[in-house]
Amino acid sequence: MDLAEFLGPFFEESFEMIDHMEGDLLALEAGGAADAERIHSIFRVAHSVKGGAATLGLGEVAEYTHLLETLLDAIREGQRPMTEATVKALLGAVDVMRDLLLAARDARPANEAAKQQSLALLKQLMNGEAEPAMPESGTAPLPAMQATEDVAESDVPGSEATPATPVAPSAPPAQTAAPHRPLGPGWRIYYNPRQTLGTGGAEPLFILREVRSLGEVEVRLLDDALPRVEDLNPRQEYLAWEIIVHGDIPREAVEEIFAWVMDQAEVTIEPLPMSLSDEEGGSAQPAEAVDQPDSDVPPQAEPAFEAEVQDWPLEEAPEQAPAPSPAAAEAISPPALATPATTPPKEAAAPVSGSGRAAAKEGGSIRVGIEKVDAIIDLVGELVITQSMLGQFSEEVERDGFHIGMLQRLRDGLAQLERNTRELQENVMRIRMLPISVAFNRFPRMVHDVARQLGKEVELQIVGEHTELDKTVLEKIGDPLVHLVRNALDHGLEPPEVRRAQGKPEVGKLILQAYHKGGSIVIEIIDDGRGIDKERVLAKARERGLIGAEENLPEERIYDLIFLPGFSTAEKVSDLSGRGVGMDVVKSNIQALGGSLEVKSEQGRGTRIILRLPLTLSIMDGQLIVVGGQIFVLPLLSIVESLQLNPNNLARVAGRAEVYKLRDQYIPVIRLHEIFRLPQGQASERPLLVIVEGDGVQVGLMIDDLLGQQQVVIKSLETHFRKVEGLSGSTILGDGTVALILDIGGIFQLGRRLEGRRGGLA
């Protein structure tokens, strides 16, 4: 049997389960009850992934998850406590599992260093070591250093008696977690800023960027010094970096970069060994490794890890996974070793693993609940019945001729056909609908990691994660959402001491909320941070010449400024949100999906960003309108009201913008035939005004006539033509002709530009 066809579903399912596991762990970390059900559910993930991996011949994954499963089993049985350290280690394990699976899926080497580190940690926990999460003990002597034969005699997992002290003193601990040995030419740099945030003025990120300009770099974040949350001093920098630069670079070039932080930070620069044999020092604990270079590392030191994993007695070896014997394990280890030596690991401690996962989710298949499929089968059945009814009817007409009494039957039949078709369409669309939790799932972990990195305390609340939307939309909102959330964490929420000083709770609140409204899905990102400083935004906009020096804008327009290209409050640029991808990209991404973005903010109280997106990209409720003798489709959702235009209520402001007085309000008017350069229709002696809303702004569109409303299937104009300003696409009407769909946002912009032109001519 060819197992390859099961790989795809296995990966998809595994990633999904791991997401769940991560969610459970984060809940535990946030103080959730470590009840049996939750622990069991975490256990089940490891168990299922292991079973699947073993069946499909993914040895590395099976091996790793087996250890994880054993530990979780012990916890489940109450033999081990679920401590904070355990949760932290398990979160690390989640990353490793993902990496291993991605590596297997994409046929690329896994991040060996991270795996070894995690394995060491897990084993430590299994052996009942206290608090491996303590800063110093994170890389403490590990059982992994034991020679293989020692392990064979060691105790079963879960036994408290097992000593975790290394038996092989010849291999110093520092080497254990880093089988990766990059070779020269190049430099290995250890950089610990050792500073208090905000006092030193040396932004580590800038340094890292500088180094990157030298050549190909590998950066590893060393976060072992991070204390537990309650011991964390938010002003203290706990992070250090190990940077490996490849290339023939003069030492001075490297030193120059660190020159002005040298006095404060701890920096060591050493050449990369030119070959394995003359290599010195390890990379796991550069602080020590660099200060006191270790003796040569026997290359055999590493296989211990590989072999040992498999040596754990397989108490409940699954039927489908034959347990590899120690001998076999030893036999396969050396080739496995060859991989890490030649391939650089990706950032071992990268805080967010989103990108890899996002890629996984872009996969081309959907898992559909059986009830959705059944509903479609039922509908197809009904459709067949309607078809045969209409077929019978036509035979009857052929035989007996048509008489007027039959008309009603024909109408009934057609009505039934229409209903069937619509239901079928809705149900088929429903197949493509997925809960937004697919996009939201990454955030608990991301918020957790980013907040920690920033020294902020954040409580994330997710509301409405079961809200469904089209898979294509879902896939495309991931990145904009990540950007907005990072922005909120970075710029929105204040550090705890600032919050305290302002009488706010120290823990900042971030809410992700999704709900349906009409035919749209609304996603809100709400924080209770400092809000947007309108004055600063205005000042910045004036400085950049985006608005006139004296120009004053209404509040909404001020917030719109932050979405303009080139608008960035530069002094705030940081590792997280200032990386070139501006809010303008977020906005254009959302608009490309046919959505809109609105910002509400209150200084000192927080910011609320509201995204409105269509549920699906392929079908829309449309209002057919006539302009200049041509039929266009207006998205029904954008229409506020339509009215007969009273010419007395039309006025021109300063000879430029045309406005219409509607009740107590003046609404800008756009003559559609003007911006589309169409002939004015004959019916335009009595034109209609359709009030539409987009981006929170209301505008009246002057049109010739309103026709019916209908659902339209959206066809892109870009497939065979290109993007046309003011149009979002096209559709095919009942008579086979093409009608163009109006893009409200684009029309507003066109209108504004036309207004400007008119002003220029005047």
Partner: protein, 172 residues
Amino acid sequence: MNALRPDVSTPGGVRGDVLQYLSFILHGQEYAVDILRVQEIREWGPTTPIPNSAGFVRGVMNLRGSVVPVVDLRLRLGLPEVTYGAQTVVIVLRVLSPERDRIMGVVVDAVAEVHDLAPQAILPPPEVTAQGLEGFVLGLVDSKGQLLTILDFDRLLDTSLMLVDAAGPVSS
């Protein structure tokens, strides 16, 4: 179905060392296009105009569910406009561009015939071409005493030239 298929004895456009070209008439002149690019030939039917598009863009049509732009080749080449008649046809072509392959229709006065041409019979375009044709000619052929101009539709139907600035000066 109002589409007529080109009469091609051997599908695929290549017969031995011979290349096949579909020729059509435009303002009394015969032009040709690589038959492998031709998808079908249709009678002219009404199109939906696209706002703020160049004058030679007739609009879009429904080609069995695909929305496909239609270009008037006379106007594209700066030839005088004529009213469409019974002979007027739309040649549906595959147009290649760096971004993607597109399907487009071009309106011509009439289709003429399918020519079998030896590659060596196709001469490179002269340095100086007729006005309006600069850069659009792939080659010239003398077929049975008649001059055939082979057009480069990938350049003629470059979509970046098909829209005008909506807020730009109004052309009457």
